[in-house]
Each structure stands twice: as structure tokens, then as C-alpha cells.
């Protein structure tokens, strides 16, 4: 079985103080969210760079119905269980990057503070043939003030629209990068994530200087 006899190097701290700085054992986790509509390649993106094959967890998400078939104020908010694929990349022994692929259903705006709290940023994966699928994610990250990057997934090396058209359709700020990537290739996903990290670094610098 997976019993571990606690090797000496991993001195497990006994103080269960929240937020106690520990130099010893567990890696510091950081996370990036990979968001987008159904079938745009979120799991492919996660799997392309993760060192484990993506795992799935189920969690609650709060939904606010918007738009055409809004059933009225009495049922404006519901929770639903979503399945989320995730993976990880060990940066070094003290730092681990998690990637959470989360769906954004169209016609729903979702709110999920658990997911965003402490996140470095988000990669919004877009399929140009169904571009409106990503609107809820863009809305949410804008409101949450989370750095995000729009990544147009080019399944066949083809882009239905050019990146300026995508930017226009999404009506995002000029400082939000819109890029093209291929979710199947590790190097391509890595480069897209590096752009997310650049945005995160900008935010961290701004927070420090203010």
C-alpha cells in the first residue's frame, strides 16, 4: 500500500497554526485557471503540460441565470455541481503549479470565489466557431480583477477569425493579451501560460508598489 514511514528530511510541523510559514515539507501551491466553454480544449490544455494525467474533481458552483430564459427573480441563483479537470507541474521541491480547467456555461454567469482566491491568473480558451461560449468566463475574470489572457485554440492550425476580430468580439481591454495557441502541444501551452504569468507578475508588482 502507500504507507509512508516518514523519512527524516520531511519534518512535519506539529503546529497547526493557519498560515504558519513552513520551510520544510509541502510545496507552496500556486494555480492558474483554464476556463472556457464546453469542448474547447480545456482538458487538452491541462493534459498537455501536466505531469500527471488530468484528474477530475466535482465541486459546487453558483450560477446566476442571465439572458433569454431567465425564469424570474425567485430562481435567479442556483448551485450546480460541475466536474473540473486539473493537473499540476512541479516547479521545484518547494513550488507546485496547479492548473484547474473549469467550464463556463453559456447563458450562465458563474461565481466561484474558491477557485479565484489566490489564483495567479486565467487562460480563457476560445474556439472561434463558438466564441460566445467564453463570455461568462471573461465577464467573471474582469469583475474579479483576475489577470487573464484569451487563448484562441487553433485545432487544425487554422484560425476562423484573426485575433483582432476576436478581441473586438470580446470587447476586452487593450491590455488583455489575445493570443493563438494549440492545446495539443506542450510548448504552445507553456508559452500561453507564460503570458498569463507575465500578467500576474504585473499585478504583483503593482500590488507591491501601492
Amino acid at each position: 500500500m502507500d504507507f509512508d514511514p516518514y523519512p527524516d528530511r520531511r519534518v512535519v510541523g506539529t503546529a497547526r497554526v493557519p498560515g504558519a510559514p513552513q520551510k520544510t515539507t509541502p510545496p507552496v501551491p500556486v494555480k492558474i485557471i483554464v476556463a472556457g466553454g464546453f469542448g474547447v480544449g480545456k482538458t487538452t490544455t491541462v493534459g498537455a503540460i501536466s505531469e500527471i494525467s488530468p484528474l477530475t474533481t466535482e465541486a459546487e458552483m453558483t450560477l446566476e441565470a442571465v439572458g433569454v430564459d431567465d425564469p424570474g427573480p425567485a430562481t435567479a441563483k442556483t448551485t450546480t455541481t460541475i466536474a473540473m479537470d486539473f493537473g499540476c507541474v512541479t516547479i521545484d521541491q518547494t513550488l507546485k503549479l496547479y492548473l484547474f480547467g473549469t467550464p463556463g456555461q453559456s447563458r450562465f454567469s458563474f461565481m466561484w470565489d474558491d477557485l479565484v482566491r489566490g489564483a495567479l491568473g486565467a487562460l480563457v480558451v476560445v474556439d472561434t466557431s463558438r466564441i460566445d461560449d467564453c463570455y461568462p468566463a471573461v465577464d467573471y475574470f474582469e469583475r474579479a480583477g483576475l489577470p487573464f489572457v484569451v487563448g484562441v485554440n487553433t485545432f487544425n492550425g487554422q484560425l476562423g477569425y484573426n485575433l483582432d476580430e476576436v478581441r473586438w468580439a470580446l470587447a476586452i481591454r487593450d491590455d488583455v493579451p489575445v493570443l493563438q495557441f494549440d492545446a495539443r502541444y506542450r510548448a504552445s501551452v507553456r508559452d500561453a501560460l507564460l503570458v498569463v504569468l507575465d500578467q500576474a507578475l504585473d499585478k504583483a508588482m503593482r500590488m507591491r508598489s501601492s
Binding site: 474533481t57 495567479l120 506542450r186 507553456r190
Partner: protein, 156 residues
């Protein structure tokens, strides 16, 4: 009269749950009925146990006392934490966390709803079985981000 070839309807409702490959012997005692807090109300015998309503395991609680526990929060077992009075789910969590593990991974590997896993982890922490490494700062500092950038760049 529709499908005479089907003897005893083997199609399960197949709860839209965690992937089935995770159900390996040794890692899935999560739903052993040993000391379920309540006799799970009306689970038909043929139904997949994964469709048991998830928060039965937490005695109906849907919110833990540890709001700081997130998906990526690292959890590790404390030495000598193999208590006998743990529920099967709790014991499975403690066994899994010999190496530090995120709550999301605990949830995935034990096929527990994330909300359930989070409550159980909080309980085990309160009982002194687990070390839960909640981070205090909300947004990572620039140095940490630089390390992630360097680490990713080295991936080819």
C-alpha cells in the same frame, strides 16, 4: 418489449462522477458502509454507490469551519495519526496524505465531492490528524511568480 436481449438491465445510471479508472483496489474505501453516520436514506441496492448523496458523509454539513482551505491547499498527515475511531473516508484521507497532497487530489482520488473532502479535511485537522498548510497571503508575491516563470521556461 424494447430490448429482449437485455437480461437484467446492466446499464447503470452512471452518476456523472469522477472517472472510473480511479476505482482501484486499495484506494477506494470511500464508501464502505462500516460506520456511516446515518443509514443512507433510500439508496437502491442496484445503484452505484457514488450516487449516494455526498453530504451524508459529513452528517449533512455543507460548510466547514476552515474557509481558507482551497482546492490547491496542501495537506499532510501528522505522525501517529492512524486513529481507530475515524470513519472510512477519514481514514482513507489520512492514509493518502503520507506525502503532502492537495485537497483537489484527495477529492479526485477518493472520489469525494470537493466540498465533502474539504469538510472532512477540516475535521481531521481539528482532531489533530492532519497538517493543513493554509497560506495567508492572497496573491503570490513577485518572487514566487518569477520562480514559476523560470520553472515553466525550462520545460521543453
Amino acid at each position: 418489449m424494447t430490448n429482449p436481449a437485455e437480461p437484467d438491465e446492466p446499464d447503470r445510471p452512471a452518476a456523472p462522477a469522477v472517472r472510473p479508472f480511479l476505482r482501484t483496489p486499495g484506494s477506494g474505501p470511500a464508501y464502505a458502509p462500516a460506520s456511516a453516520p446515518e443509514p443512507a436514506p433510500a439508496v437502491p441496492p442496484g445503484e452505484q454507490p457514488a450516487s449516494l448523496r455526498p453530504f451524508v458523509i459529513t452528517s449533512g454539513r455543507v460548510a466547514g469551519q476552515d474557509a481558507g482551505i482551497g482546492l490547491e491547499t496542501q495537506v499532510s498527515a501528522l505522525p501517529g495519526a492512524t486513529g481507530a475511531r475515524l470513519s472510512p473516508e477519514q481514514r482513507a484521507i489520512v492514509q493518502l496524505c503520507g506525502e503532502p497532497l492537495s485537497v483537489a487530489e484527495i477529492s479526485a482520488r477518493l472520489r469525494l465531492h470537493f466540498g465533502v473532502a474539504r469538510i472532512l479535511v477540516g475535521d481531521l485537522r481539528a482532531a489533530g490528524h492532519l497538517d493543513v498548510h493554509v497560506l495567508e497571503n492572497d496573491f503570490p508575491d513577485p518572487e514566487t511568480i518569477m520562480r514559476v516563470i523560470r520553472g515553466l521556461r525550462s520545460i521543453s
